[in-house]
């Protein structure tokens, strides 16, 4: 029912809160201030600088396809389950229209791309979430594709690598969405039992039900510098508790210090880190 026509293009958007809808593509033309350090930037500058702010190194959001391409050896990625699309199981008001707008804006059928790829010569199952598709929220399709990715990894005895980015559960699918947390966690449980390596990359922002399920269950959890990672979003915490949030709260550096991340890695060196991790883990299996 849906024909994705992939047209790679840069998309610099700030997703600092889950209630904010993504900027339209048009408003991103021309100069804009860096949301972290307020330096005025042009799109050209940022492209030249590999999607970072040249002053504060803020990592701007990249699309799921850019992520996949930046991690996999050239031409090796085979997409799985690209035909899966969301229905509107609860007949939730406006959901159909939102889905349609999201797929038109992103040229993607849903908020995650999964498949098989080769990284540094080593075969893996790889997935990346798309921040612009309804804030990377997890509905039935995202949950199903994560499970199939885990099952695909088990069938082939391959490592699983997922790049996460999400505003949380997709409310328009009600409990069907919340249960995807349980479903994906259970699938990761089986992956664990099979002794297969599972790595997640948490990018800005990863919050809510995705953080509280498959994203935080990896053997190795890597954060991108400055990424907002947590369960409850910062605005809701501020509103609910009336407390001022500490500096750097819920950012990668803060999470590393609080024991939740294994490593923080700049995006440019992400691929080389994965190659080293995969190599050592292959060594572990052969060495025995």
């Amino acid at each position: 029912m849906f024909k994705p026509t992939f047209k790679p293009r840069k998309a610099y958007i700030d997703l600092s809160g889950i209630s904010k809808s993504p900027l339209s593509l048009d408003s991103r033309e021309g100069n804009f201030p860096c949301p972290t350090c307020s330096t005025w930037l042009s799109e050209a500058e940022i492209i030249k600088n590999n999607d970072f702010c040249p002053r504060c190194a803020r990592h701007f959001a990249v699309t799921a396809w850019e992520r996949i391409y930046s991690l996999c050896d050239e031409g090796t990625f085979e997409e799985w389950d690209s035909g899966l699309t969301s229905g509107n199981p609860l007949q939730f008001p406006d959901y159909d229209a939102k889905l349609q707008r999201a797929s038109e804006d992103t040229h993607l059928p849903e908020a995650i791309i999964t498949g098989k790829g080769i990284i540094g010569g080593m075969e893996c199952v790889v997935g990346a979430m798309e921040p612009r598709f309804m804030m990377g929220s997890m509905g039935s399709v995202v949950g199903e594709k994560v499970c199939r990715a885990a099952e695909g990894a088990m069938e082939r005895s391959l490592p699983l690598i997922l790049s996460c980015c999400s505003g949380g559960a997709r409310m328009q699918e009600g409990m069907l969405s919340l249960m995807q947390m349980a479903k994906t966690s259970a699938a990761i449980g089986r992956l664990n039992q099979a002794g297969l390596l599972y790595i997640t990359i948490l990018t800005h922002p990863t919050t809510g039900g995705v953080t509280a399920s498959f994203a935080s269950l990896a053997d190795i959890i890597i954060g991108e510098p400055g990424a907002l990672i947590g369960f409850t979003g910062p605005r809701v915490i501020e509103q609910t508790t009336g407390q001022k949030l500490p500096a750097g709260f819920q950012r990668s550096e803060y999470l590393l210090q609080h024991g939740m991340l294994d490593i923080i890695q700049p995006r440019l060196e992400m691929r080389s880190l994965l190659i080293r991790l995969l190599a050592v883990h292959q060594g572990g299996r052969n060495g025995q």
Binding site: M1, I18, S19, D81, G83, L84, T85, S86, G87, P89, L90, F92, P93, D94, G139, S140, V141, G143, E144, C147, M171, E173, G174, M175, L176, S177, L178, M179, Q180, M181, A182, K183, S185, A186, A187, I188, G189, R190, G209, T211, A212, S213, F214, A215, S216, L217, G230, F231, T232, V236, I237, T240, T241, Q243, L245, P246, Q250, H258, G259, M260
Partner: protein, 321 residues
């Protein structure tokens, strides 16, 4: 839109009060209206029962949060004997928003765990309004692993607005604590039955609702997020929470249709649920029946089926290959 139980209860309470005045008057005047009074009483109670049968989802949300409803400790005390509460996660703290321990249900030893709200403000502050922090989920995790070691079936009782949304909870890995509990329950090698008794709010509720069977009280709710949150995010108008309550399909019949839950236990009109012997008997026999059924299965089958239950949840389009 009604915002508390008394708004939709008001009409009946007014009638009941009038009736009481009439009754007292009749005694004072020594006139006997007792037949008439009895008839009106019956009529009110019928109307009320009818009304309660047709509560809107939003009214059910309000009712599910009512502080006069029994809390987890009350269910444990009524349904079990020999309850011994066990404390602590052995890591950081003891979270009063989750109560757990071992007890005897019928003739079998069980592990019981649930979120615990208080019944007044002071109690509620102590129990953090039933919103667990990471140490609560980790206490549950510990008690579940113990249940597994001693082959004790588990009964969970669900009643929480959700996981604690505070700074400390984030600092100590709220998301990590929840995901680890989901993973733990999804493969725990003992039978697990969950009972949603009140407010089943978001991830904080879900974390204890991965079970072989899920039973729900007829006025309990179970939702991806509170209707208020959905209204404020999706409609930018928290006052339209009632619409969202409708749209979210969060009540027991809707969730049974979606195959999220397995059974519904009807609540009586009685304010004091656990004072109604029929309700207690119904609830007890529902838990008992499901626990018997799942306990009769070989453990490997049970775990496989629990996985399958979760695995098939979700609705989407897939093109024919």
């Amino acid at each position: 839109m009604a915002n508390n139980k008394f708004e939709f209860e008001a009409a009946y309470r007014l009638l009941e009060n009038k009736l009481e005045e009439l009754r007292q008057l009749s005694e004072t005047l020594e006139c006997d209206f007792s037949n008439e009074i009895a008839n009106v009483e019956k009529r009110i109670s019928q109307l009320r029962a009818e009304r309660y049968k047709h509560l809107t989802p939003w009214e059910q949300v309000i009712l599910s949060r009512d502080l006069e409803r029994p809390m987890t400790r009350d269910y444990i005390d009524t349904l079990c004997t020999d309850f011994i509460e066990l404390h602590g996660d052995r890591l950081y703290g003891d979270d009063p928003a989750i109560v757990g321990g071992i007890a005897v249900f019928g003739d079998r030893a069980v592990t019981v765990i649930g979120q615990q709200k208080g019944q007044d403000t002071a109690e509620n502050i102590r129990h953090n309004f039933g919103m667990p922090r990471p140490e609560g989920f980790r206490k549950a995790h510990r008690l579940l692993k113990n249940a597994e070691r001693f082959q004790r079936p588990v009964i969970t009782f669900i009643n929480t607005p959700g996981a604690d949304p505070g700074i400390g909870a984030e600092e100590r890995g709220q998301a990590w604590a929840i995901s680890q509990l989901l993973l733990c329950l999804s493969s725990l090698r003992v039978p697990v039955v969950s009972v949603i008794t009140g407010e089943g709010g978001s991830g904080g509720a879900l974390a204890l609702t991965i079970a072989d069977r899920i039973i729900m009280l007829s006025n309990a709710v179970f939702s991806v997020a509170s209707p208020e949150t959905c209204a404020s995010i999706l409609l930018r108008d928290v006052k339209r929470a009632g619409e969202m309550a409708e749209a979210l399909k969060l009540n027991a019949p809707a969730l049974k249709d979606l195959r999220i839950i397995d059974a519904i236990v009807d609540e009586p009109l009685n304010e004091n649920l656990l004072g109604a012997p029929d309700f207690v008997a119904d609830l007890r026999s529902a838990i008992s029946k499901h626990l018997d059924e799942v306990s009769a299965q070989p453990l490997d089958d049970l775990i496989r089926q629990r996985y399958q239950r979760l695995r098939v949840i979700g609705q989407f389009y897939e093109p024919d290959l």
